[in-house]
């Protein structure tokens, strides 16, 4: 998953969770929860969205790898490769 694909996927999911969030200003290594003021319900909804769009189970232990856009790209890039 390229960085722009990652950003688009996350932006689509967040549009339904936090419409005010402007992901275009978030750098790849920033913690999304901090940058976009996501609480634990928001983050669970983000994980749910990623799960539904990719089919991956995403165990809770993997959550920390999804805190940044770079991390999300790497996490799902591995699956493709």
């Amino acid at each position: 998953m390229t960085p722009s694909e990652t950003k688009r996927l996350v932006a689509e999911i967040l549009a339904g969770i936090a419409p005010e969030a402007d992901i275009s200003t978030v750098s790849g290594d920033a913690d999304l929860r901090e940058a976009l003021d996501l609480d634990s319900i928001d983050f669970l909804n983000l994980v749910t969205g990623l799960h539904e769009r990719t089919g991956r189970p995403i165990p809770e232990a993997d959550y920390p790898r999804l805190f940044t856009l770079d991390g999300i790209g790497a996490y799902f890039g591995e699956a493709a490769g």
């Binding site: 339904g16 936090a18 003021d37 634990s40 799960h51 809770e60």
Partner: protein, 394 residues
């Protein structure tokens, strides 16, 4: 005949703007029906009626700013309806009752006493509440095909899927007004309520381990959050400590009829709202998680009902994983207590005589010293700690 008055949707509210009537003279209403939409500092709120009867007259006009307690409409009690109905009873044609409600079966609807001919809407017009209309538009759902369960078959929020993408604040929502509302309520709290504060740090490792085991078996949509386990334990502890669950009114404590937990929700862009989760102590973990999701989402999309803003009997604020370690809450009047749940942190903890890293959370209670003494508040925290230590029972 009784007068339906502008309800107080919070200690801070002095008046509301009537946006729209959802009933007409002659309409039969039952307790819990949404009858009007009122614009407040907390956004557009659907207002329910709290008695059965027939709408006799609408007193307030849409657009009017109505003080709390001022008359909105006249309601005739059941039984005298026929005498006061403004239009002669017209036998209903063989129309099936307004689309079979999909919700809980209502008491068999007596025939409407008066078809309000002069004001009757055009045939085929769909009656729908504004909040429902917004959500339907957001979801792209055609209203014509929906069964309505509101007054007269009006489509209300409950008739629509809740998975709508949250909407931005409606145009009428004013963050400055919400700030002013919070300022008024909190100033009143600090002016009138002699707070006492207690705190207790509790080892929640067992409860969180149990949650991890439950979630390991589940896909993300069905997973539970730590907040739900803490809320469940808190609701049970509150049920066992009725002295803190209720309201201070007219110089005395009035106990609530159930554990209606106001859950403080921070709004993005500023502001705070604490809608009630009714009878939270009777909900097991999964339904409680569903209720929490529902209420948080609707709070953020400004789709709460009036009763959800007024019926909370105690408020809980949970700071979450990015919050502070503990909080000294400010009680929301006229409630008499507020429970704070801090961030879960890992700390050295003495367990069976050895120091171990454990996950702990600091629970705090602000109590109204007029209603209770610290001893009672301490009992609540002790009960809560015991419930969290015995996590398998939650």
């Amino acid at each position: 005949m009784t007068v339906f008055r502008m309800p107080s949707l919070g200690a801070d509210m002095e008046s509301g703007t009537l946006v729209e009537w959802l009933v007409r003279p002659g309409d039969r209403v039952k307790r819990g029906d949404v009858v009007a939409v009122v614009e407040t500092a907390k956004g557009a709120i659907e207002i329910e009626i709290f008695q059965d009867g027939v709408v006799r007259a609408l007193i307030a006009e849409p657009g009017a700013v109505v003080p709390v307690g001022a008359p909105l409409a006249e309601i005739a009690a059941e039984g005298v309806a026929a005498e006061v109905a403004p239009a002669p009873p017209i036998p209903q044609p063989a129309v099936t009752p307004p689309t079979a409600p999909a919700g809980p079966p209502a008491a068999p609807l007596p025939q409407r006493p008066a078809a309000p001919a002069p004001t009757a809407p055009q045939a085929g017009r769909v009656r729908v509440t504004p909040a429902a209309r917004r959500r339907a538009a957001a979801l792209g759902i055609p209203l014509e095909r929906l069964p309505g369960t509101g007054v007269d078959g009006a489509i209300c929020l409950a008739d629509l899927p809740s998975s709508a993408p949250p909407k931005r604040a409606p145009a009428g929502f004013d963050p400055a007004a919400m700030r002013a509302a919070i300022a008024a309520a909190m100033s009143r709290s600090k002016r009138e309520i002699p707070h006492y504060y207690l705190s207790e740090t509790v080892d929640v490792s067992a409860a969180l381990d149990r949650l991890t085991r439950i979630n390991a078996e589940r896909d993300p949509p069905a997973r539970l959050l730590p907040a739900v386990v803490l809320l469940r334990a808190a609701a049970l502890a509150i049920a066992a400590t009725p002295e803190v669950n209720g309201w201070w009114e007219d110089g005395r404590f009035r106990a609530a009829d159930g554990v209606h937990v106001g859950w403080a929700v921070a709004l993005r862009g500023g502001g705070l709202i604490a809608p009630a989760i009714r009878d939270a102590d009777r909900l097991a973990l999964d339904p409680l998680m569903a209720a929490l999701r529902d209420v948080v989402q609707r709070a953020r999309s400004f789709a709460l009902r009036g009763s959800e803003l007024t019926s909370a009997s105690i408020t809980i604020t949970s700071l979450g994983e990015r919050g502070a370690e503990s909080v000294l809450p400010v009680i929301h009047p006229p409630q008499v207590a507020m429970l704070g749940i801090g961030r879960v942190v890992t700390r050295p903890w003495v367990v069976d005589g050895t120091v171990q890293p454990r996950r702990v959370v600091t629970l705090t209670l602000a109590g109204d010293h007029r209603a209770t003494d610290g001893h009672v508040g301490g009992l609540l925290l002790t009960r809560l700690a015991a419930l969290l230590a015995d996590a398998e029972r939650l």
